[in-house]
């Protein structure tokens, strides 16, 4: 299973990458939105985890693009320090499957990833 993680803070990106690799996932790590979009189109990962505030393209733009352009229903988790209801609702309306507010527990992230992967498998996406 491959997860693309888009996060512009290198230390947090590395932390998430190390945790997911330890859990047995392959990780594609990227620090900007534009590169994230390119890599999603090129590699079609099994899941996307993305920050909202990133250089070049935001996490919300990534959700829109994935939902418009990619046929496969890729689960998307948003990781963000933004707690405003308006932004959270917009993320879900655009097609996010989950929204985690920073700072977050790595174990909680892992559980949410596993749950979404199972749901995705049940829906026959893999």
């Amino acid at each position: 299973m491959t997860i693309l993680v888009a996060e512009d803070e290198p230390m947090l990106l590395k932390t998430i990458e190390l945790k997911l690799k330890k859990e047995g996932y392959e990780v594609i790590a990227t620090a900007d939105g534009r590169e994230a979009i390119e890599k999603i189109e090129a590699s079609s990962p099994d899941m996307v985890i993305t920050d909202i505030m990133m250089p070049f393209s935001s996490g919300l733009e990534i959700i829109s693009l994935v939902r418009q352009k990619i046929k496969k229903k890729i689960p998307i988790i948003i990781l963000s320090a933004i707690e405003q209801e308006k932004v959270v609702l917009e993320a879900f309306e655009l097609g996010a499957d989950d929204y985690i507010t920073k700072p977050f527990s790595l174990n909680e992230l892992t559980i949410r990833v596993k749950k979404l992967m199972i749901q995705s498998e049940r829906n026959g996406q893999h």
Partner: protein, 137 residues
């Protein structure tokens, strides 16, 4: 009284050296070498970010200051450094809302001094983890 003396010692220790971090999130990595890898990234980048924060404040660049405070907040959140999180949140929101930097002068000063202490404490933690790792190996 012995108990008073102990209390004084405790208070002195706590006020002089309050612990500014908690590694509970990084410990969820389940591997001391992974924690060391993340901490080494902190030592490589965070001091430059703090220097840049000061520079942006002096140059009165409110929006870049707000953006950088947001970025540093993400880092110190990983380390559960709550006083720094609060200060950086104030810098981020106030400069964004007002478009000026004068109202966050005290916060910037406190961030710089607390960060120096945090860095010192984390170096000690780093040494402890390294020692622990070499003992296990």
């Amino acid at each position: 009284m012995w108990s008073d003396f102990c209390l004084q010692i405790t208070n002195f220790t706590m006020s002089e050296y309050p612990r500014l971090y908690n590694l509970v999130i990084l410990e969820e990595l389940g591997d001391p070498s992974a924690i060391l890898e993340v901490l080494s990234m902190f030592f490589d980048s965070a001091p430059h970010d703090i220097q840049e924060l000061e520079k942006l404040f002096i140059e009165k660049k409110a929006i870049p200051l707000s953006q950088l405070a947001h970025k540093i907040k993400t880092v110190v959140s990983l380390l559960q450094s709550f006083r720094l999180i609060d200060l950086l949140k104030t810098i981020e929101t106030r400069t964004k809302e007002t478009g000026e930097v004068a109202s966050v002068a005290n916060e910037v000063t406190e961030v710089v001094s607390l960060f120096a202490e945090l860095e010192k404490q984390l170096h000690q933690e780093w040494e402890r983890l390294k020692k622990e790792q070499s003992t296990h190996n």
